[in-house]
């Protein structure tokens, strides 16, 4: 979700400055439908699959649009399969991850914005480097660590790992935001007798809601889609998150129909797609901010 993160160094954008000439070539219109079809067609088949009767998937010829649309699959995944529990687990994990990440990342980001010391750049680059260690590499140690902490198959374990892996980007995003908050505010707060903590908590954080919401959204979407970590350390049905539920409980060995899978898929992607549509504003300004560099 990099697109959104670049939004964070946003000053008001001055779009158009230094734009190179726009020589739109109408030939390009030919490619629009091709591109759109390549992206939308595969998805629409899955999307509409959620509204089909289970046996419609198994009759020839296959259909894209459901013959007799039904909502039964959606009822089924919540009443027979407790997909609601997986969604609820995902919400819980994503919510607490966002909360903890914003708090720890905000604290550090604020300090890094206000405090200049030798080695600061090295620290920030180092954090970025650590974030780039993929979870594929760390998955075995994660399993062992969570196992010895007794956090295997708990949502707590997931929140801890997600938080750690999302703090660096949050620090970068929020530091960028805090840099744009005038230092005069801190100084005024100090004159009023605020401690650093009070300044951060009472003055800076409330002012930083836009930055916090961008960072929070980023972390939320990422935590929502995470797959490998929960697959390995929280695969039990009780703590399964939606992505794992989709893979494991609709996969081989499981007595679940594909129409239910599609219905569940639709429900899983809906929050991120809606969030994404709302965040478009930031994406646009973000791209512009990036462009101005």
């Amino acid at each position: 979700m990099a697109d959104i993160s670049v939004a964070t160094n946003r000053r008001p954008s001055r779009r158009g400055r230094q734009r190179r000439p726009l020589e739109p070539s109408p030939i390009a219109y030919i490619f629009y439908p091709v591109l759109a079809a390549a992206i939308i067609l595969p998805l629409s088949w899955a999307l509409f699959g959620g509204f089909k009767n289970p046996n419609e998937l198994f009759t020839y010829p296959p259909t894209i649009w459901p013959r007799s649309p039904t909502l039964q699959n959606f009822v089924d995944i919540f009443t027979r399969l407790e997909f609601g529990r997986y969604i609820w687990n995902t919400i819980l994990v994503a919510f607490f991850t966002v909360l903890l990440t914003l708090f720890l990342g905000g604290l550090a980001g604020y300090a890094l914005s206000r405090w200049d010391f030798q080695g600061k750049e090295a620290l920030m680059i180092g954090l970025l480097g650590l974030q780039l260690i993929p979870s594929t590499v760390n998955i075995v140690p994660y399993y062992m660590i969570m196992s010895s902490l007794g956090l295997l198959n708990t949502l707590t374990g997931l929140v801890l790992i997600y938080t750690a892996t999302h703090i660096p980007i949050t620090i970068w995003v929020l530091k960028g935001f805090f840099d744009t908050v005038p230092r005069a505010l801190d100084e005024a707060a100090a004159i009023d007798g605020c401690s650093k903590w009070q300044t951060f908590w009472r003055v800076i954080m409330p002012l930083s809601l836009p930055g916090l919401s961008v960072a929070g959204f980023l972390v939320f979407v990422s935590a929502w889609s995470e797959f490998l970590v929960p697959l390995v350390i929280a695969s039990n049905k009780n703590v399964a998150v939606a992505s794992v539920g989709l893979f494991t409980f609709f996969g081989p060995e499981q007595a679940t129909s594909y129409t239910s899978l599609f219905a569940a898929t639709l429900i899983t992607v809906t929050p991120v797609v809606i969030g994404y549509l709302f965040a478009q504003r930031y994406i646009v300004s973000g791209l512009t901010a990036f462009a101005e560099k």
Binding site: T59, T79, L152, K237, N238, P252, A255
Partner: protein, 433 residues
């Protein structure tokens, strides 16, 4: 973690209050470890409901016992957990274990024998292979409560349209029928043959055992490639190759798991698919017309031998050493494994019974034609997979060769040798522990 802290806090408050004396006199807390799927917190709602109902009933019948259950991982983490809590005196009183774990747990002194409490008469109600699977040194250590069976699932109506009245029992007859079907553009059989998937191996194992093959010797050393065993395994590979070469089975099965075969079956592209009994209820819901048109057949064998059905499932086991707790634990096990309750659970979960009386008395199992065809497999020979750590490696080494064999690129004997070469270094490594 929060809930654990909560429990401790409540326990502390409880201990500090004079009420605890009353509490202690009131009930014995029976701690039970169960996989989520076999507990009131099952993700499958009808399953959760039946366990909720049974637990409440047990509670009502035994007001002096308070039932506490904790969810146990059904995979290796569950086994690790039992071994770990045993070392720190944190064992529950009763646990559900995978049949494959029993030997390990007995070796580590985690399980208590049931010979003194479990009456012979009740044991006689189980399939002998079940008792054998849970018996170590002459003593039973668990009570299996269900099994899944793999076999060739087919539509009798389709069989009839191919001019057959019975599913061919010998491989030659099957191939002959397959060629007739092939001319109509229908494949006779599809078995899952995806590499590193346990079901791929399981479908092969029934035939391999039926021929007389053995995977490991008494000491647990892999012998599937030696002498006759190696020959039998090569025979099984050869059967797969023959079917693929004759067009009786499409070579693309090497990319499919059991669920991947369903569209071919539903769409009428194949007569039979290798499938698990646990998916049958789902089939009925996806294809309602299968409700009265579904049967299962054992795998056709070269000389008409009988294939051996794989037996496998979870079992209730007793871990409490203290006599009072053990007595309460046994009450719970007895309750959950009584013919009536076990039958109810089997029916709801779509699992097959391992008690003769359930097959006889439970209306669903006794009357449903599909279940009756499973009963015929149940009446034959059954066997569990060897409970040795090297089994995982053997299983995936055997299934990994299927793609090469079926496509004709690897000769069956070479596939056996390759599987051996994949297993033995790992076995040596494990033996060195």
């Amino acid at each position: 973690m929060l809930s654990r802290i909560g429990t401790i806090a409540v326990a502390a408050a409880f201990a500090a209050s004079p009420l605890w004396i009353v509490g202690q006199a009131a009930a014995l807390e029976l701690n039970v470890f169960v996989p989520a799927a076999y507990s009131p917190s099952s993700g499958f709602i009808p399953g959760a409901d039946v366990f909720k109902k049974l637990y409440a009933e047990f509670q009502k019948q035994n007001p002096d016992i308070t039932l506490n259950y904790e969810v146990l991982d059904p995979g290796p983490a569950g086994l690790q957990k039992l071994l770990t809590v045993a070392a720190s005196n944190g064992l529950p009183d009763v646990t559900i274990v995978d049949g494959q774990w029993i030997a390990r747990l007995v070796q580590s002194n985690v399980l208590q024998p049931l010979d003194a409490v479990w009456p012979e008469s009740d044991r006689a109600d189980f399939h002998p292979a079940v008792i054998e699977a849970e018996t170590i040194d002459g003593k039973p250590f668990g009570i299996m409560f269900q099994t899944g069976m793999r076999g060739l699932v087919y539509r009798p109506s389709m069989l009839a349209s191919a001019g057959l009245t019975e599913f061919p029992a010998t491989f030659d007859a099957f191939m002959a029928a397959g060629k007739t079907l092939k001319d109509k553009g229908i494949s006779a059989e599809m078995v899952p043959a995806k590499a590193n998937e346990e079901p791929s191996t399981m479908h092969m194992l029934s035939i391999f055992w039926g021929l007389g093959g053995k995977l490991v010797d008494e000491k647990g050393a892999p012998v599937f490639f030696e002498g006759d065993n190696g020959k039998y395994l090569a025979d099984v590979y050869q059967m797969y190759r023959d079917m693929a070469a004759a067009g009786v089975m499409p070579a693309s099965v090497t990319t499919m798991d059991e669920n991947g075969l369903k569209p071919f079956f539903y769409g009428g592209e194949t007569l039979a698919i290798g499938f698990s009994s646990s998916g049958v209820k789902q089939m009925w819901s996806e294809m309602p017309d299968l409700a009265n048109d579904l049967a299962v057949a054992p795998y056709p064998m070269p000389e008409g031998e009988k294939p051996v059905t794989i037996l496998g499932g979870f079992a209730y086991a007793l871990t409490a050493k203290d006599p009072e707790r053990a007595a309460a634990g046994w009450k719970f096990i007895q309750f959950m494994t009584s013919p009536k309750n076990m039958g109810e659970v089997n029916e709801v979960l779509g699992a097959l019974p391992v008690r003769n009386s359930i097959w006889k008395d439970n209306t669903f199992f006794a009357t449903n034609p599909m279940m009756q065809s499973y009963k015929r497999m149940y009446d034959g020979e059954m066997q569990t997979r060897p409970a040795v750590p090297i089994y995982n490696t053997i299983s995936s080494a055997i299934s990994a060769q299927l793609a090469g064999v079926i496509s004709g690129q690897v000769k069956p004997v070479d596939a056996v040798a390759a599987a051996r070469d994949a297993v033995m270094p790992e076995y040596e490594r494990q033996k060195g522990r």
